[in-house]
């Protein structure tokens, strides 16, 4: 029974991390910066969702409003900060990224106060499949994860806008020669990222219905580890990076759950970062030859 519940926990946290690490990989490929802000955007999305949902609006509209607000914040940050910093050396963008993340967290502490808020439960109960009781949150998480990832992959692979986005991320200079409108493309990309982050926040809050301004930070960092393991910086084209990022995020979820249940809860963070450092040191040569010694 404990093995079974472990598998369900793996599914749940893996799906959430996979969504976030996909968003990280997309931002990295398009803007060339590792974004530390995504965890804070998730927290913001959960707050917006909780505000509207406990205010009495239906589940779907609360989720849509959370998506819209996440998309707006992401678009604002990407166009105002990441895009102008593309022409500078990479560490400028990194410093800006971690600065925004702290700025945003402190703003949220100021606005929402550090007290935790309880969210009205969204999904509850059990479903029996082959006489095995499964929590509805696990099912919903996995289902939404599948829909979003399949939709995202098809969007980048088969629609015209998705193809244009991948073209721009591949070679921005020659895309400008062909008069591709960069702003509308970055708007569409941030729409996708906003939906991914809001969905991750919604799924997280359906499993753990308490929110405070520090909730997203830890998830964001672990998802970043997932994105790195999934080849951030090595695979720099958009439809190709999608499955790898998902796999990386999912594997972080699995590692975290196993470490939590077989070692201890406090050791899970340590195990994840240890794996990251070992992975980076082993693959140092790859990064060196692909990106000149730096993860771009």
């Amino acid at each position: 029974m404990s093995l079974l519940s472990d598998i369900f926990d793996c599914l749940r946290s893996g799906s959430i991390y996979a969504l976030i690490s996909l968003s990280l990989a997309l931002i990295y490929v398009f803007y060339g910066t590792i974004s530390f802000i995504n965890g804070e955007i998730i927290t913001y999305g959960i707050y917006v969702f909780a505000f509207f949902y406990s205010g009495g609006s239906p589940l779907f509209w609360a989720f849509v409003l959370a998506c819209v607000s996440c998309c707006g914040i992401s678009l604002l940050i990407c166009t105002l900060v990441y895009k102008p910093l593309r022409k500078h050396p990479r560490h400028y963008g990194l410093a800006a990224s971690i600065g925004i993340s702290f700025l945003f967290r402190n703003l949220m502490l100021l606005i929402f106060t550090p007290n935790a808020i309880k969210i009205k439960s969204t999904i509850s109960g059990y479903t029996k499949i082959f006489s095995v009781p499964i929590e509805n949150t696990v099912l919903a998480t996995f289902f939404i994860f599948l829909i979003i990832t399949l939709g995202g992959y098809c969007f980048f692979k088969y629609t015209k806008i998705g193809r244009l986005i991948s073209a721009v991320s591949d070679n921005p200079e020659s895309a400008m020669v062909f008069k591709i409108n960069m702003f509308s493309l970055s708007f569409m990309l941030n729409l996708v990222i906003g939906v991914l982050l809001a969905a991750a926040g919604f799924l997280f809050s359906s499993s753990f219905p308490v929110v405070d301004p520090y909730v997203g930070t830890a998830i964001g960092m672990r998802a970043l580890v997932g994105a790195i393991i999934g080849g951030l910086g090595l695979i720099n084209t958009i439809p190709a990076c999608v499955p790898y990022a998902l796999l990386g995020g999912f594997s972080v979820g699995i590692i975290e759950t196993l470490a939590k249940s077989y070692i201890s809860v406090q050791a899970s963070d340590f195990v994840i970062y240890l794996i990251l450092v070992v992975y980076l040191i082993i693959n140092y040569k790859k990064y060196k030859y692909k990106t000149g010694g730096e993860l771009l």
Binding site: R90, G99, L103, L110
Partner: protein, 321 residues
């Protein structure tokens, strides 16, 4: 070196020192101002040494306050248990603190410099927390009280001038040029035969040495140290000062450290929402002019004037259609 002694900065330093002495003897300065000035000068040491690693070579590190913590605790131990040499033991304590944190930085940097640049940030952040937790476990979270007051204005001023002088020498040598080349384009630097791995480690160790020294100064100026003084948020504050002063801009970082520390202690609202203000200014500086806030303000005013006079930078007339 002759260039340094005839430069504007050196003359300004001497002028400030003399003015301070006169003001102090005449009794213009209250005790609060003197204490804040000491803290501001310690911040100058930290920010200038961090600027070498972050601004000139482009290694974003967040472990600076961790090295500072090591320096503070070790120097306190040294002044407590070295019974001979009278007050000269403080100098020994500072050197021991600096050397030990430099050694630790060297040990950390061998794996840390192999990690890609972006993740150096996370690795050093983790290292800072490891140091803090180790100190809590070894020395207790209540910290150390009753430390003798050794670091007066003269000592701190001397160390600050020493750091600035060393960084100035470094910048105007061929090693400084190599550092700047690495920060701008590492591939190009390697193709010119610059061993970037060696430079990165050397600069990291240099920064950590002065972080340790300033930790010792800090401990003997405040006379109380707690492990919670040295969180990674303090490192981030220092990083913000570096960026606001300008990445790779030596006078800028001195200016930023002095102004921001004084603003923090003299205006309550700055201390209340310190991170919001610092980060906001830091992002504005990074996006609009990464050379520093002084250049940003200057370019803002000069652009307005230029458009008024229809002249470009060389003073030639331009037509505005």
């Amino acid at each position: 070196m002759r260039k340094f002694f005839s430069s504007k900065g050196f003359l300004l330093t001497v002028f400030v020192y003399v003015v301070f002495l006169i003001c102090r003897c005449a009794g213009f300065l209250d005790l609060y101002f003197q204490e804040i000035l000491n803290l501001a000068l310690i911040n100058v040491i930290l920010v200038v040494s961090l600027n070498v690693a972050t601004g000139f070579v482009g290694q974003l590190t967040l472990a600076h306050s961790g090295f500072m913590a090591i320096g503070a605790y070790l120097s306190v131990l040294a002044t407590r248990y070295l019974t001979f040499w009278g007050d000269f033991r403080f100098v020994i304590a500072l050197i021991v603190a600096g050397l030990f944190s430099a050694l630790l930085a060297f040990l950390v940097s061998i794996p840390a410099m192999r990690v890609p640049k972006s993740f150096l940030l996370v690795v050093t952040l983790g290292f800072n927390e490891i140091i803090r937790n180790l100190i809590i476990n070894l020395a207790g979270s209540s910290g150390i009280r009753g430390i003798p007051y050794y670091s007066n204005f003269y000592v701190i001023f001397f160390v600050a001038v020493l750091v600035i002088f060393l960084v100035y020498l470094l910048l105007n040598s061929k090693y400084g040029m190599a550092c700047i080349c690495i920060s701008q384009d590492e591939k190009l630097a390697k193709s010119c035969g610059i061993n970037s791995f060696y430079y990165k480690i050397a600069v990291f160790v240099f920064a950590a040495f002065f972080a340790g020294v300033s930790g010792g100064l800090y401990a003997h100026a405040v006379t109380i140290i707690l492990p919670d003084m040295f969180t990674y948020e303090y490192s981030l504050e220092l990083l913000a000062m570096v960026v606001i002063g300008g990445l790779g801009n030596l006078p800028g970082s001195v200016f930023a450290a002095l102004v921001l520390t004084f603003a923090q202690y003299y205006f309550g609202f700055v201390r209340e929402c310190k991170f919001i203000l610092y980060m906001l200014i830091m992002i504005i500086v990074l996006v609009f002019d990464p050379r520093g806030i002084v250049f940003l303000i200057k370019s803002m005013f000069s652009r307005r004037k230029k458009i008024k006079n229809n002249k470009n930078e060389q003073g030639e007339k331009i037509d505005i259609a």
